[in-house]
């Protein structure tokens, strides 16, 4: 089924709020200058359960998604790999179509 628009790579990362600036810095480094951060409520994984209590923001998780030109996304992800374990990131990569491709160089 063919969709409207132009294909771009959508990277979605679940991470602890204090790490967002780090990730944004890394995105910028690869010329990806757009992102959006969204809230989460709770979750469960290998390292146990978490629940959103803002009393301490250290483990306050958020998701950050960024739509980028595939090549840039590729480069960014290569740089991200080493951080996955220490930062405890969940990374999801997919393809979306966007209507104004020029905005997502």
């Amino acid at each position: 089924m063919s969709l409207q628009g132009v294909e771009r790579t959508r990277i979605e990362v679940l991470l602890d709020a204090p790490l967002v600036p780090e990730l944004v810095r890394l995105l910028d480094k690869h010329g990806i200058h757009g992102h959006t951060v969204m809230p989460t409520l709770s979750g469960h994984g290998a390292s146990g359960s978490w629940d959103d209590d803002l009393i301490t923001s250290a483990q306050h998780k958020v998701t950050l998604f960024s739509v980028a030109e595939p090549a840039r996304a590729e480069a960014f992800l290569n740089d991200l790999r080493p951080l996955l374990d220490s930062y405890g990131l969940l990374v999801m990569i997919g393809t979306v179509n966007v209507l104004r491709p020029e905005k997502f160089s």
Binding site: E22, S49, D51, D53, L54, I55, T56, S57, A58
Partner: protein, 316 residues
């Protein structure tokens, strides 16, 4: 015992019990954050107003130096204890140590409440000391990590900036300054909120803290019995050290007790956020578990009374 009947403490127990019976009771995160902003603004204001009355004294300077010193120094012994008895990796030991050098605002506030109940008031300037003790420990913690070959993930300058402009530090010092400027006169119209409502709101916050702490204790995978023991022992040791130092420096009983409470408490707001960023390899479940799920409840229920009792013996 007397302490345990303070409504503040009882609400903490209620929250903890609710979490232990797996009740779905929960305080919305925005409310918890809002209340903690209110609490910091309120104690900052009250401290400033009272210091505006009392004026800057030599004691203030002494207590400030002592507090900053403790915050810088305490992480070192804690680090080695955690390495030795706790068998923690250098990075985890350094991260946890930073928490114990720093302070817990709510533990301090609860301590003040209990001191007030027992009519052994602490000096107003201790609020300023509280603010000054929050960050030095972070620096020591990071130096320890580096010393043991753990490269911090970020440039020191940025880190410095982030810790010094940490929300709680800015709010405490800022509202302390506002208090100094407005004085008793200017405080009157806002007293119903920042003074009258204080104890009641604190009850609601400790209800929340009880829920959060107990939940962490329940599914805290990183916590071993040994680490729980250390979390208590370190609190007691630091607290005692703080009280003794206070007495040595000739602070009155209430103020020495407050210094002990600060030394014995562990940060769970400023430091965890800083460590998550500076030492991402460190396990948050570990340092939050120890400070929030063990040391905090211990201090509220047992530690504070002990530090006060000790302070009354030695001071005077």
């Amino acid at each position: 015992m007397e302490t345990l009947l303070s409504p503040v403490v009882l609400f903490f127990v209620l929250g903890a019990m609710a979490a232990l019976v797996r009740s779905d009771l929960a305080v919305p995160e925005a409310i918890g954050k809002g209340i903690s902003i209110y609490l910091m603004a309120a104690i900052g204001l009250k401290g400033g107003v009272e210091v505006a009355e009392a004026g800057f004294t030599m004691d203030l300077l002494i207590a400030a130096v002592a507090g900053i010193g403790l915050s810088f120094a305490l992480p070192v012994p804690v680090f080695f204890i955690l390495r030795g008895l706790g068998a923690l990796t250098p990075v985890n030991a350094a991260a946890v140590a930073a928490h114990y050098g720093s302070v817990s605002v709510v533990t301090f506030v609860t301590g003040l409440e209990i001191l007030a109940r027992q009519e052994i008031p602490a000096a107003a300037y201790m609020v300023a000391v509280l603010a000054m003790m929050e960050t030095p420990a972070i620096i020591t913690g990071l130096l320890l990590a580096q010393r043991y070959g753990v490269a911090g993930s970020r440039p020191a300058r940025e880190l410095m900036h982030e810790t010094l402009t940490n929300g709680s530090v800015v709010l405490l010092i800022g509202s302390f300054a506002v208090g100094l400027l407005i004085g008793k006169e200017g405080f009157i119209p806002i007293a119903p909120v920042f003074d009258g409502a204080f104890r009641g709101v604190l009850c609601l916050f400790l209800l929340d803290m009880g829920l959060v702490a107990a939940k962490r204790l329940k599914d805290g995978r990183s916590l071993t019995p040994r680490l729980i023991g250390l979390a208590i022992a370190i609190a007691l040791a630091n607290g005692t050290l703080g009280v003794l130092l206070g007495g040595l420096l000739g602070l009155d009983a209430g103020t020495a007790a407050a210094l002990g409470i600060l030394a014995g408490s562990a940060s769970y707001i400023a430091v965890p956020a800083a460590m998550r960023l500076a030492l991402p390899q460190a396990d948050p479940g570990l340092y939050l578990g120890m400070s929030l799920a063990v040391t905090f409840p211990f201090n509220i229920l047992v530690g504070i009374p002990i530090y006060i009792w000790l302070a009354q013996r030695i001071a005077s």
